[in-house]
Amino acid sequence: MRGRDILIAVLVGLALWQTTVLLTDAPHFILPSPWRVAQAAFHSRAIIAENAWVTTVEVLLGLTLGTVLGAATAIHLALSKTAERLMLPLLVFTQAVPVFALAPLLTLWFGYGMGSKIVMTVIIIYFPVASAFHDGLTRIDRGYHDLSVSMGAGKYHFMRHVRIPSALPSLGTGLRLSAVYAPIGAVIGEWVGASKGLGYLMLLANGRAKIDLMFASLIVLACLTVALHIAVGRLADWLSDYARGVRHP
């Protein structure tokens, strides 16, 4: 995604928004104009920044923990046929439970602070990371396997030197998905019960009929998500390039 493309998309979005406001003549407490939202964002910049920081920390910690746990699970499953046979169906089954429905329970267990939001984020991204990485680890070129067997490779060394590097593009695919899901997890956690964060601020603004502030929070959240998507996309590209030997680590 190039900077010019992003700028054009933003301008088109703003134009559509402003046109809708003009055509529908909606009151500002239903659909505020972009200018009104910009004013609200400026006036409330301190409170928005404070809450955006909280959400950012929740998302980044959740993303990091979820990736580490998901990748560790994938490696463990790929190393042990027994673990794969027992745990893989269980993992798939857990995905049948709507994760959002767990939010109240997580708030009950982990409190109103960051903990419950981080756990929510971890749960949401754990499966995509584990599933994509496990897929990459198990779809290894048969030739590499044969060569390693003929060389007398140990399974842990084979995992470290061959399977993990060759599966990095798959891990990148899982990370790209996670970058989309992670903010959703944090915000839903904040909706259910929080005293800080952009999700909390949106609910607060909505309750006080400050729809322009709600929109401003929403736009900041969208910007955070796009920034995360771009950063994780670059990381995924780097992982893929490394596995193809295009760049030096």
């Binding site: 070129d141 030739g143 590499y144 044969d146 060569l147 390693s148 067997v149 003929s150 060389m151 007398g152 490779a153 140990g154 060394h157 084979f158 030197h161 061959v162 590097p165 060759s166 490394y242 596995a243 193809r244 030997g245 295009v246 680590p249």
Partner: protein
Amino acid sequence: MTVPPGINFAGQHRIGGLVLFDADIELPGGQWTCLLGRSGVGKSTILRLILDLETGGQFAGSITATDGAGLAGRISYMAQSDLLLPWLSVIENVCIGARLRGEKPDTTRAADLLARVGLSEHTHNKPNTLSGGMRQRAALARTLFEDRPVVFLDEPFSALDAGTRADMQELAAEVLHGRTVLLVTHDPSEATRLAHQIIIMSAQDAQAWPVPDTLPPRSIDDAQTLACQIRLLAHMRGIAA
């Protein structure tokens, strides 16, 4: 180097109840054996069975070394695809066997081997910067790094252009001299140039084919080699038909 062991292979291989082949083959120690036969007859399967790799079938028979010792850890393997790991440099690829066994790689020896195959200037390059022929030379250096008395080559030169292939055949013959080599190939020219012994496989049996009196590697324009190659090709076409 002590005299490398020969290998005796005798038995029947079945896939889904059907006999793929029934073969009795002897690989003489310290010599090149070239295995030919039409596609799907089980040439690579023999190689995989001796290497103790998965074949998807059932083998009934015996595989023994002529010195009575086990074969595990005494065979190195080079496939049609170079199987270089793209994320490692050329020298790291040459040493990969040591890393996979959890040993400290001897990079000095690896560098010497790369010099021997003419890749000194590419030691720290990534494989994707090399040509097809250079990649196969790196794979050959990796095979040599293993320093095993027996070497199995599964059509390693088949994807190369004719000139590079001839160069690689001569290089392989030189650097693998004195080892027990099994080369699976579809190319009668390659077999007649390199083999001390040629074996033609069919579903029924594995038959030895007479080779020229001269020692390999034989010159491309050697009259005996050319005559042997023509007869072999005619025979192969007869089998295929």
